[in-house]
Amino acid sequence: MKTLIPVENENTLAAIQGFLKQLLENDVVDALLVPMRTPHGAVTPALVSDPEMLDAADPLAPVMGVNAAPLVGRVSIREPRDRIGVVLRSCELRALVELVKLQQASLEDLVTIGIDCLGTYDVSVYTAMRNDGGVDMAAYLATARDGDLTAEEGFALRDGCQMCEKPQVEDADVTVELFGADLSSGVPISLPDEMGETLGLSAAEVEGSRSQVIENVVVARTEIRDERFAEIRERLAEEGVEGVFASCVRCHNCMTVCPICYCKTCLFKSQVFDHEPMQYANWARRKGAYRMPADTTLFHLTRLNHMVLSCVGCGMCTSDCPADLPVGVVFRAIGQETDEVFDYEPGRDVEEPLPLITFEEDEWMDVGEE
């Protein structure tokens, strides 16, 4: 059913908090994983069991410090577990689908609550905005109405968000439908009929043009995305991947913050690439010089091979790169090509097998036969 949560005094956040409280109070879920505002004003995901605490919930805060999908894995991966409601953005939901396929999360006992994303800022930018008098939330939420998702003047949305053409939630148990809505008067939410009855909600005709607004957003964002893809493809063709990643400091942040990179011990954090002293000496002798730490291009190319097919384009890698490398756009641009080869779309469908764990006997029949 679709319902409209009324907004009082133009306080959209309070209306959403009220809805989330209902989920806990009516025992729809035992706990909620939701972005919360800490006493010091930062925003972080937290697992909330006390409905009163939801006064600090802030799923509308335009900041994304982590992709929460791996956190859903923490609370869902095995029994015994609570019934958890998880409030996620579109890229987090898509990453969750990939993690389920990678057996790093489970949808059992889980209620996914997707919330349309109007774009997020990097933590550092968001902190600067807070110090500068705070984000104009009324203006930010107003962008949902017509889908003109612009950043506040003087600031830029996260790189990943700027070229995100999938900010809308498409496949969640509960959807907080921001696009097309006048959020100063009500928040449209679609949810299963049974849950709506438990919460005492009634179906409402929701005015507005969600699908049209989404279409406009997708068109505008796709245009930006394609420009960025063209730029980076040109650079990759000219400089090669070793040129694009030349300034990499090998902090491994991109791997650490990537929601898809789930290995408990990444190959590159293991001792596999701790070579014998004389091995480095030999390489240096042969090439005349040898970059250290070694294997930097290898790191990025290996990560591409290991996870690019599941890259959902959340852009956390770019956000957390201390060298400002265009990690996310490289992965997205190359991922677009590999996805096409395997007719795969990460995050699309949990039933769709990962391309590299499945196969058909009669495909690429010419490969290996030359």
């Binding site: 030349a246 190319l301 091979n305 190359i334 090509e337 006997e361």
Partner: protein, 142 residues
């Protein structure tokens, strides 16, 4: 290094059951093939992580050969089918990353195909000789 002197170096990852045995057969059958190939035996082509292919390529190997059983003949049922997908993905990634994908070859060679193994190594050596040295051999900042 002048063109005449250039001898390509090929790193080959061969599955224990088919291609490695095929290489062995080439040897026991006294079939001649170029000495440009360095063979690493694995249990299955399906166990070739892309990293194994990438590391020699970035260090300057002129070619990497992955050898496995013909489709349908995998000792582990499906390893070679998975290898095929991995190599398809790897080559797509290399092409888009600005690295010469043609230096990576996947070939199905059975235990009885000693001649095919020798022919493949000959063909690959000639191909790489034509192509010239891998530029990564001199590239220190990778």
């Amino acid at each position: 290094m002048s063109e005449e002197q250039f001898e390509p170096k090929i790193v080959a990852f061969l599955c224990n059951w088919c291609t490695y045995t095929g290489a062995d057969l080439a040897g026991t059958s006294r079939i001649q093939y170029p000495p440009n190939v360095r063979i690493i035996r694995l249990m299955c082509s399906g166990s070739v992580d892309p990293t194994y292919v990438l590391k020699p390529l970035l260090d300057g190997a002129d070619g990497v050969l992955v050898g496995g059983c013909h489709p349908g003949d995998c000792h582990y049922q499906s390893g070679n089918y998975k290898a095929r997908r991995r190599v398809v993905a790897l080559k797509e990634i290399l092409r888009n990353a600005g690295i010469d994908e043609d230096r990576v070859w996947l070939r199905w060679i059975s235990a009885s195909e000693g001649q095919r193994f020798a022919d493949t190594v000959t063909e690959m050596t000639e191909f790489l000789r034509e192509k010239g040295p891998n530029p990564m051999r001199k590239e220190w900042a990778v």
